[in-house]
Amino acid sequence: MAKSAPGLKYAEEMANYDDCPPPDCNGYDGAAYRWVFDPITHKCFWPHGKLWPNQERTKCCDGWGLSFFVSAETAKARFLAIIKSNRNAYKKLGTHLAKGKITPTHGLATEANSKTGHFTLFEHAGIRLRDEFQIIEPLIV
């Protein structure tokens, strides 16, 4: 059994995995971008382990984190790449791009991927990210 991660929203679930959150996680401080639906609901900020509990390979550490991007460009590029391979993926992953500011008080973040700009945030307990994000543009036109 892995060490627990006290103070995180899904600490109980994450305790089932080794190195969860990954040891190199830190606080993130800056603008962040996430795919959401319009209107934004709390479900837009549910981790996929909670959203799709029966789906294969979401029962992992990442399943209890939220995906963000460091820029609108990287968020849109990844979305377009996925929509090319799976045309209906917007039904599952989101239709709009939202922008917000994430600070270390929101949780622990993995280092952003240098190529894709993607990072995962493991939220602290009591955080309501829905209130921090606004839609800036549609992803599907």
Partner: protein, 331 residues
Amino acid sequence: MLKLTGTKFEQLPVSGLKWVSDLQYFDGPLVSYFRHARTDDAYIKYWVDCDDDIDRWMWVRVTENDILRLSNKVETLDRVIPRKCQDDFVYFVDVGPKSQSVVLIYITDIPQEYTPDKDAVLSPERTNNDKTFPILIEEDLEPQDLTDIPRVFRQAYSILYLLSPKHVVSREKFLSHPWRGGFSSVHFYNEVESIVPDRAQFAFQKIQYASPGFMRFSLDRPTAEMVSHCVGLISQRGSEARRAYHSLGSYIHTNKLNKLKRQDPGWASHKTELVRRTKALLESLEIDKPTEVIAMAPRPFEAAKIARSIFKRLNKLATFQEDGLITLPKD
């Protein structure tokens, strides 16, 4: 979701499928590679649709060659699904929280909405466990090529592994190796390969001799990708590596250094220029701290020969690739 009309099954009529890897993943798998435990057939499980309760997947039997080309980004998904399907049909599986339903549909009846868009490139995430690398065969190879390609690749891979700044211990061991006498490439590469640690040793896994086909090796994947990257440096237009190689070769040839006796006092006057041109060649191949590599050799002349031998191996692979015989995947 679209209504699908076809032959219904209570469950997928193919059993024993084992997950191998995800070829496209975002907050869950979207395109996954499975293998049949008994027949070793390759299958793609492809996410196509959902509603509030159900996820819909398409199962497509393909070839391992197609999987390798997809996962190494040398083939686009729309060129594989559905046209490279090994059967005349695919299975659609609707998976709900408590039940699933299966429909067999002929390839010609697959809705366009459930096929990939043009030029869809997958972005498989590499894991630390990925210790394989393929050389993709594009045309019929001569028997000699089948021997030469893996041998040359193995030699280039081994030397680049030892020169990588990521492998501090191995690099240190290599640079402090007591090289004696003149430079013999056979002797040199035999020793180089023996210094590579067991966990990173290059080994043949599988060959599918066809065009297209593949050779697959177990090795340290980042180093294999470095070989591929260096081959790209040589192949690019106006290659600095080619220029540096010819500059060094020209100096050796013009000054007849291959015929100069080891004890000849004339060597002293060539030292600076040999070091400068060798350093330029190593730098053009993005080899870390070239001065350390040059210092490893008994004399600058041997260092020049080592640098030229690395280029020759990479250039041979570049020629195979430029001739359209093979493709070396890049990261």
